[in-house]
Amino acid sequence: MQSYDVIIIGAGPAGMHAAHALASRGQHVALIDDNPAAGGQIWRGVNNKSIQPARAALESPHITTYYQTRVIATLASQQLLVENPRDAHLLHYRHLIIASGARELLLPVAGWTLPGVTGIGGLQALVKAGMPIANKRVVIAGTGPLIWPVAVFLRMHGAHIVAIAEQQSLPRLVRFGLHLARYPRKIWQAVGYAAQLIGVPFMADSHVIAITGTTQSTGVRIQRGDHQFQLTCDYVAIGHHLVPNLDIAQSLGCDTTPAAVTTTGLLATTIPHVYAIGEARGIGGLDCAIAEGHLVAAVICRDTSAITQWQQRVAHERQLATAIAATFATPATTPLADDTIVCRCEDVTHAQLQHARDWRTAKLQQRCGMGPCQGRICGAATQHLYGWGPDAVRPPLRPARVATLALLQTISTDVE
């Protein structure tokens, strides 16, 4: 079995910076990510100045990268079972850093399963992967700070942004803007976005109530205050801000809230030797993730002067995280049609679910959440729609080959 001083789960900005900072202090690090390259969901394949040095540093002989690799199970005795497209491994760690990032919250709305409808980050990923977007009409809707960089990105690739429809009210967004004033880099970023989006209609307080089309999305119906109107478009990118990926932390037994892994100011979770950084600690953005990557390395290596320096930085960046949460973390849902599909894996509709007692009944009687996503998408949706509690997390944390799980027979039975 391979053994490392530190295993980092997630090669986004937080994980990359932690890896870099640990390796430069002589630690042997494994960096695990589901994606084929480092960079995380948003910054992968982008030449961003703030993450370039850390990306280059991943070449260090102290760092072993496990790309296209998923954590399937967390085990006693500080072991992980991981799988890649070819084989599976058991890995041992002394310290574990959860830098598992966040995913978009996708809430059902009439028509959301039509081709042409994607998440906001989802559309960006498709375009990065080569999907042509030039001259296509796109409506970006939902809520969250992700809307802005993605709108700029799509416009740069030639998309015609028909409108941006943000759920939050204008006063709320203005308050958020005032918070940004304390972060000079963010202000310049915001000014830059605004400049690049001149001419794009922006609508606050606007809720998508249906996506129209029969075989493909052809438009959206939007409610704003008392009136409704229709926009015509080819693609609808709709997302409801981000939710942290908590399953690995929960599988390890760490305390979590719906919004974050519970941690101390020094990033320690409630389980010994396990730390959480970046979006897993609550949605905080790029600069926050980078600062926490540096801080966790300083903590693990007991580098006291670096700890003091990075702790201040993290505290400053986390204030913005609080503002982000206050502004965007409570997306509204619109009433669904009876035939709106809520669980996409198993095609379970709102009509089949709305009278169920709880998640377990919906699951056992309607198969809701039983498909390959195991409630990662519909679980968040049913929590918002019906107030059902989330499912218990257990292995396999992601779909895994039978042979991968069979490898568990080799672990010792008398674990501590």
Partner: protein, 367 residues
């Protein structure tokens, strides 16, 4: 005796089947369930409707129940996900093949279809088995159901009263609920599966934990429930943890993979080592399983009795308390036979099969 009120504790497949049969014969049924209908072992079990011949009494009860499921399932295959796929029991060596031949006659004697398979026939039925196996046994009348939904369906037919609460005590003429309320009835039926001892600590029931794994959809990968003949041998080895190859085609095209048995473990957590052993055993019999994608793993408890037979009938020392529990790894199958026996005993009508081997009094010395 004129039919009257009955309280059933536990809305698993056994409690719901009893509710259904009693309501059919005129009883007013109240069901108390702490979780949701069709949970407990019913939400965990494989749902194989299987005739087994480990003992004569087991074969009689499973054969009777297999026929009842056939009637119920054929009438409403979608509700029950009833798939009459049959079972192929795989012999690993010539000794087991000889055993298979002997079983053919015992199944025939019980009026069931059973067919000895030579190697060629075995691979014709299940081409994905590993090469080199000598043959097996095919029981065509076995089937697969989805028991949580069957339980809900059986309950819905009763028109009875459902109370979502936990029973905390049984007293003469009724039960006490966790919220403090008392419910009264002449007859109380205990159908709480492996939790039976929480309410009646003297019952001879031990939990036997099992793990199951469900895959993504691979229609046509197997055509029958396929299990190793050693299953019965391994499954009933007292007190020893065991694993056996036992896989099932679901109506959805998914493959349900089992099985293993562990005694007296009370924590529901997945045991990684046991899970690994179980899956390796299955890969050994069917190498193609190795690359299939698994979605979920879960555990469940069988309510095991010392003689492997359920407890069906009156508790010999507690007036008004009737038992329908202890169904080990066969309760989905035997729920329908159990319900018929229990109702016949309560109604003083003649049951379809002889109730004596299942009466609880066999474990209680006379006063």
């Amino acid at each position: 005796m004129s039919p009257s009120d009955v309280i059933i504790i536990g809305g698993g497949i056994v409690g719901c089947a009893c509710a259904h049969r009693l309501a059919e014969t005129g009883w007013r049924v109240t069901l108390v369930e702490r979780d949701t209908i069709g949970s407990g072992a019913t939400a965990a079990g494989m749902g194989q409707i299987v005739a087994l011949d480990d003992s004569p009494a087991e074969l009689v009860l499973t054969a009777d129940s297999q026929r009842r499921w056939h009637t119920l399932g054929q009438a409403n295959p979608l509700i029950h996900e009833y798939t009459p796929c049959g079972t192929v029991w795989v012999a690993s060596d010539d000794e087991e093949l000889t055993l298979a031949a002997a079983k053919v006659s015992s199944y025939h004697a019980a009026g069931l279809h059973a067919e000895l398979l030579d190697a060629a026939a075995l691979y014709r039925h299940e081409p994905n088995l590993r090469p080199g196996l000598p043959g097996g046994l095919r029981i065509a009348g076995d089937a697969v159901v989805y028991s949580s939904r069957s339980a809900a369906w059986l309950w819905e037919q009763t028109g009875g009263t459902l109370i979502h609460d936990e029973v905390t005590a049984i007293q003469s003429g009724g039960v006490t609920l966790a919220n403090g309320r008392q419910l009264r009835a002449d007859v109380v039926v205990l159908a709480t599966g492996s939790r039976a001892r929480e309410l009646v600590p003297t019952l001879p029931i031990r939990p036997k934990k099992g793990h199951l794994v469900i895959t993504d959809r691979y229609p046509g990968f197997i055509h029958h429930q396929v299990a190793e003949m050693g299953y019965a041998k391994n499954a009933h080895l007292a007190d020893v943890d065991s694993v056996a190859f036992n896989i099932q085609p679901r109506a959805t095209g998914q493959i349900l993979i089992g099985s293993c048995r562990q005694y007296d473990i009370h924590t529901p957590e997945v045991d990684p080592h046991m899970l690994g052993r179980m899956l390796q055993r299955c890969i050994d019999f069917m190498p193609g399983l190795a690359t299939l994608s698994t979605l979920r793993v879960w555990t469940g408890y069988r309510a095991a009795t010392p003689d492997g037979l359920p407890l069906i009938g009156p508790h010999p020392h507690i007036p008004g308390l009737w038992l329908a529990t202890g169904h080990e790894g066969l309760g989905i199958t035997t729920s329908l036979g159990t319900a018929d026996l229990l109702a016949a005993l309560l109604n003083h009508t003649s049951p379809a099969i002889n109730p004596s081997p299942y009466l609880p009094e066999r474990f209680f010395p006379a006063h």
